[in-house]
Structures are given as structure tokens and as C-alpha cells.
């Protein structure tokens, strides 16, 4: 029997539970030489702010054991260009489109989500967790009060399903997830990158121009899994798990911990086919194990 790979998150149907993660997939056009976007459950587009952002000075990238650091700093063309230039290229692409909305103030978050009303965007992922910007970003996601303020302000101004992306660089991620849920978040995604750094012993200077950057890749997977487990046990809205997923087995683990879907990020940098391999591997596993639907995996390890 064919496995039903569909999952539903906040009223949006994804054809499968694999979504490409924001910041790792541009605006959806960089991997179309390898497979069509329609293979994916969804695409989280590059983090966008109301005004254009240049991003941070280079070097922006450093390699780490089983991971990497980045300090891109939300380089993006701004909300207007996103809506008028990037989104039209994606019409009819056959997958769920998620805008990753970032900001440096409550007003800039609100201004951006208002721009997204009436567009082809299916869902908004509110980015309150970027570690690479001086204002806003992680500052809002670091406390329950900050997270609640942004979610409350945005919730009142958008009709789109709202997912909030959380930072792992906090003392108690569960209380922040609950604060977002209480203010009307329709879903929670986690984790954004872990703050880290490296030093070049030849130059005796930090590798990254900004000294610190966000750690991603397989190195962070166990931390991400643990946090998804904790948050999924504490909120009743759907949780989307991400952080270091590179194989279908990782995606299955993440869903067993309580995720309704997963996002795949850094893995695409070293294997362009990673998201597709994960979809195919998961489907074969579900069929082998006699599951009727992918959604049956969600939280199975908690029972």
C-alpha cells in the first residue's frame, strides 16, 4: 500500500514532511538544475527584512568538525524586491512557500508581514532567532517577553499561518515556545543555529570577521533533537524540527521526537540531492515498516 506522505501544519497541506531550511536555499532557484521544487514538501525562503540588508563583511564561513559556522547577517534585497522580483519567479512551482520574516524592530516585522498579505506565500516563519544581526533577531527570541511582543504584534496583522522559529541560545526554550503559542503562533520551528566561533592559529585572529557565527550541520543534531523533544512535549501546536538533519534516519528520529515535519539546511551544501534522498528514504522506510502515513511517525517515541 502506498504511504500517505502528506502532513498538515496549521491548515497547510505539505505533500511530504521535508522542507528546505531558510538561509540554505536562497529564493528557491539555485538547485533547480538538480530536481524540481515540486519534489519538496515546502521551501523556507531566505530570511527577508522590510528594508534591504547588505549582510556582514567577509569572511562569513568557517568549517568545524561535522559542521560549519556562518555569519551572513541576513543579506537580502528587502521586502519590496522579495514580493515583486523573487516571488513571481516561484509561481506555479508546486510546493508550499514559506517566507522567513526577520526584523530589527517590532514595526519592521509588522511592516514586512503586511507586505506579504495577498501574495502567494502560504505561511510565514517568523525569524526571532538570527544570531548574526546586531539589532532584533535573536534579541527578540532570547526572552519570553521579547518573543511574545513580536508574535502578538505580527499575529494581529497577518492572516497567513504563522510559524515562529526559535533560537537554541537560550536558558529555557520551552517557556519561549509556550509564550509564542499563547500569543497565537500556529506552529513552532526549531532550532536556528548555535552561537560559536573559531580562531585561525596562523593569523592568530578569529576566522569570521564578526568573530561569532551560527553553528549548523550534523554536529548540532542531538541538541536540536533534544529541544524538539522538550518543546513538542510542552505545546499543542505543530512543531517543525531542524538542525543538522542530513539523512532520512535523522528526519525519522526528529519526527519520532514529536516533529510534524522537518527542515533540511546545511546538508544541501555538501549533497545537493539531500532533501530528495531524505524524502525517498523516509518513504521507503515507512512502507517497509507498514506505516500508512508519514504523520503517524510524529511523537511515536514519546508513547
Amino acid at each position: 500500500m502506498k504511504v500517505d506522505m502528506r502532513v498538515n501544519i496549521a491548515g497547510v497541506t505539505f505533500k511530504n514532511p521535508v522542507i528546505t531550511a531558510s538561509g540554505c536555499y536562497g529564493f528557491g532557484g539555485d538547485y533547480t538544475d538538480f530536481y524540481p521544487l515540486s519534489r519538496l514538501g515546502g521551501v523556507c525562503l531566505k530570511g527577508t527584512t522590510l528594508e534591504p540588508r547588505q549582510g556582514n563583511p567577509p569572511p562569513r564561513i568557517a568549517e568545524t568538525p561535522m559542521g560549519m559556522l556562518n555569519s551572513v547577517g541576513l543579506q537580502n534585497p528587502g521586502g519590496h524586491a522579495f514580493v515583486t522580483e523573487e516571488l513571481p519567479r516561484l509561481t506555479g512551482c508546486g510546493t508550499v512557500l514559506i517566507a522567513n520574516a526577520a526584523g530589527s524592530s517590532i514595526e519592521s516585522y509588522v511592516g514586512l508581514v503586511e507586505l506579504l498579505e495577498g501574495t502567494a506565500i502560504d505561511m510565514i516563519e517568523l525569524n526571532i532567532s538570527c544570531p548574526n544581526v546586531k539589532e532584533g533577531g535573536m534579541a527578540f527570541g532570547a526572552t519570553c517577553e521579547g518573543a511574545a511582543r513580536v508574535v502578538r504584534a505580527v499575529r494581529g496583522r497577518t492572516t497567513k499561518p504563522l510559524m515562529v522559529k526559535l533560537s537554541p541560545n537560550v536558558t529555557d526554550i520551552v517557556s519561549i515556545a509556550k509564550a509564542c503559542e499563547a500569543e497565537g503562533a500556529d506552529a513552532i520551528s526549531l532550532i536556528n543555529t548555535l552561537l560559536g566561533m573559531r580562531i585561525d592559529i596562523k593569523t592568530r585572529r578569529p576566522v569570521l570577521n564578526q568573530v561569532m557565527g551560527g553553528l549548523s550541520g550534523p554536529a548540532v543534531f542531538p541538541v536540536a533533537l533534544r529541544m524538539v523533544w522538550q518543546v513538542a512535549g510542552a505545546v499543542s501546536v505543530p512543531v517543525v524540527g531542524l538542525g543538522g538533519i542530513e539523512k532520512w534516519q535523522d528526519a525519522v528520529e526528529m519526527m519520532m521526537a514529536g516533529a510534524a515535519a522537518v527542515q533540511v539546511g546545511t546538508a544541501s551544501f555538501y549533497d545537493v540531492y539531500a532533501p530528495v534522498r531524505i524524502i525517498e528514504g523516509m518513504e521507503a522506510y515507512l512502507e517497509r515498516e507498514g506505516f500508512g502515513a508519514a504523520s503517524q511517525l510524529t511523537g511515536i517515541a514519546r508513547k
Binding site: 531566505k46 564561513i61 568549517e63 551572513v72 543579506q75 546545511t266 544541501s268 551544501f269
Partner: protein, 251 residues
């Protein structure tokens, strides 16, 4: 663009810690243009390594790699018959003019390899190559075999001109001029070449490198400052480059 594991046909040590690899990849070679690069995945390392294409034939590609860190050291252990996982060809490559145009190629150290396909394109390229010492000199015979005239410079004077490659380059430009100039090498060399191209009014292109993750424009990691009509903005070595018009590069 393709992503595939291809067989290595051979590896040759061409200078200390510098290896030439021949890769059996006719399908990728058919897509490749001078100045593009391939992104190499190595066992035990998360990120791919961007390596410029040194030669394009019907059968495949040649790349030249200097051992500079753990990743390239790992690559140096690969031998004939091993598989090598490539993503490519990536980047825009060099804009070329008609083959009879007077082209000048300037290479410094491990920046030399991507210039070789240009020597094959232009009928009589003038090539200026700079190395630390005679034993580090690479590809000089390959450039000559392609019909180019090679002027060598070494920092220690053990071969050719004693000093920087930009010194004989300036003499040449002052005496003969050029229609188009291409350079790849360390940043101080690129800066000097950029100034000479401006001084002698030569159209010039610089090939840049940067710490890179995806190689296809998705991650925005490999940013370099580029001068545009709107001022200095970040462009990306992988997708917008690696080659940029010299006057737009901010060094």
C-alpha cells in the same frame, strides 16, 4: 551543473605539495568553460573545496591542488582509480574575446591553473607567472605548449626575474600594451595588477577566491565587496564570479 562521483585517472606531483589530477568526467567537461571551478567533496570534511578548472578536454577535467590545510592534504592522498565527488562546473568563468586579440595572463602561485585554458583560447598569449622560488613554479611548459610566451618571476631569484611578477608585467604593458588582461593569484598581486590595468588602460578581469559553502549562490557565504552604480555591494564568488571586471573589485 552536475553532482557526481568520477574516477581519477591520475595524480602527478608537479611541485612540492602541489598535485595535478586528471578526472574522467566527459559530461562535466562538456559543460565547462575557462575560469569556472568544481566543488570537491572529501571524506571526513563537511564542506566542499572550490578548485579552479585547469584544463578542459573531451575526456574530462584537470585540476591542480596545493596542500594548504587538512582538506587539501586529504585530497593529496587520492590516487588513480579513486572516486572523486564533484559539483560543477560552477561560476561564470572568463569573458573571452576573439582569439587573435593580444591577451596578457598574470598568475601568482596556485592562482596560475585557471589561466591555462585562456592560453589555449588565445593564439599568442603573453603569460607572466610569479612563484616564491624555482621549485614552486608550475605549468610553465603547459603554457608554452599552448603557444604562449612565458615570463617567469621568483621572489628569491632562483629562476627568471628576481622579484614580483608585476615588475616584468609593467615593462611589457609600457612597451606593448595589451587588449585584455586576466589575473589570478594572491591579493597583493591582484591589487598591483588592478592598478597597472588602470594605468595602461587595459580591460582586465580578476579571478577571486573566498571561503565558500554551497557553491551555487544559495548560502551567500562567499561575499566579496564589488563596486557598482549603487556603490559598494556584496557579490558572491560562486555565482556572480569567480571572475570580476578588475575596476569593480574592491581590494
Amino acid at each position: 551543473m552536475l553532482q557526481k562521483a568520477y574516477p581519477l585517472i591520475g595524480r602527478t606531483l608537479i611541485a612540492p605539495h602541489t598535485h595535478s589530477f586528471s578526472i574522467d568526467c566527459p559530461d562535466m567537461a562538456a559543460l565547462a568553460r575557462p575560469g569556472q571551478f568544481v566543488h570537491v567533496r572529501l571524506p571526513g570534511f563537511l564542506l566542499r573545496r572550490p578548485i579552479s578548472v585547469c584544463q578542459i578536454t573531451q575526456d574530462g577535467l584537470r585540476i591542480v591542488v596545493e596542500e594548504r590545510g587538512a582538506g587539501t592534504e586529504e585530497m593529496a592522498r587520492l590516487g588513480s582509480g579513486d572516486l572523486i565527488d564533484l559539483l560543477g562546473p560552477l561560476g561564470n568563468g572568463f569573458l573571452t574575446e576573439a582569439p587573435h586579440r593580444r591577451a596578457v595572463l598574470v598568475g601568482g602561485g596556485i592562482g596560475t591553473p585557471p589561466l591555462l585554458p585562456l592560453a589555449e583560447h588565445y593564439h599568442k598569449a603573453e603569460v607572466f607567472l610569479g612563484f616564491r622560488s624555482a621549485d614552486r613554479a608550475i605549468l610553465t611548459e603547459d603554457f608554452e605548449a599552448a603557444g604562449a610566451t612565458v615570463t617567469l618571476a621568483t621572489e628569491d631569484g632562483s629562476a627568471g626575474h628576481h622579484g614580483y611578477v608585476t615588475e616584468p608585467l609593467e615593462q611589457h604593458l609600457a612597451r606593448h600594451g595589451a587588449d585584455v588582461l586576466y589575473a589570478c593569484g594572491p591579493e597583493p598581486m591582484l591589487k598591483a595588477v588592478q592598478a597597472l590595468a588602470a594605468k595602461y588602460h587595459v580591460t582586465a578581469y580578476l579571478s577571486l577566491e573566498a571561503r565558500m559553502a554551497c557553491g551555487v549562490g544559495a548560502c551567500l557565504g562567499c561575499a566579496v565587496p564589488i563596486l557598482t552604480a549603487e556603490g559598494v555591494v556584496y557579490r558572491h564568488v560562486c555565482k556572480d564570479g569567480p571572475v570580476f571586471p578588475a575596476e569593480e573589485v574592491v581590494l
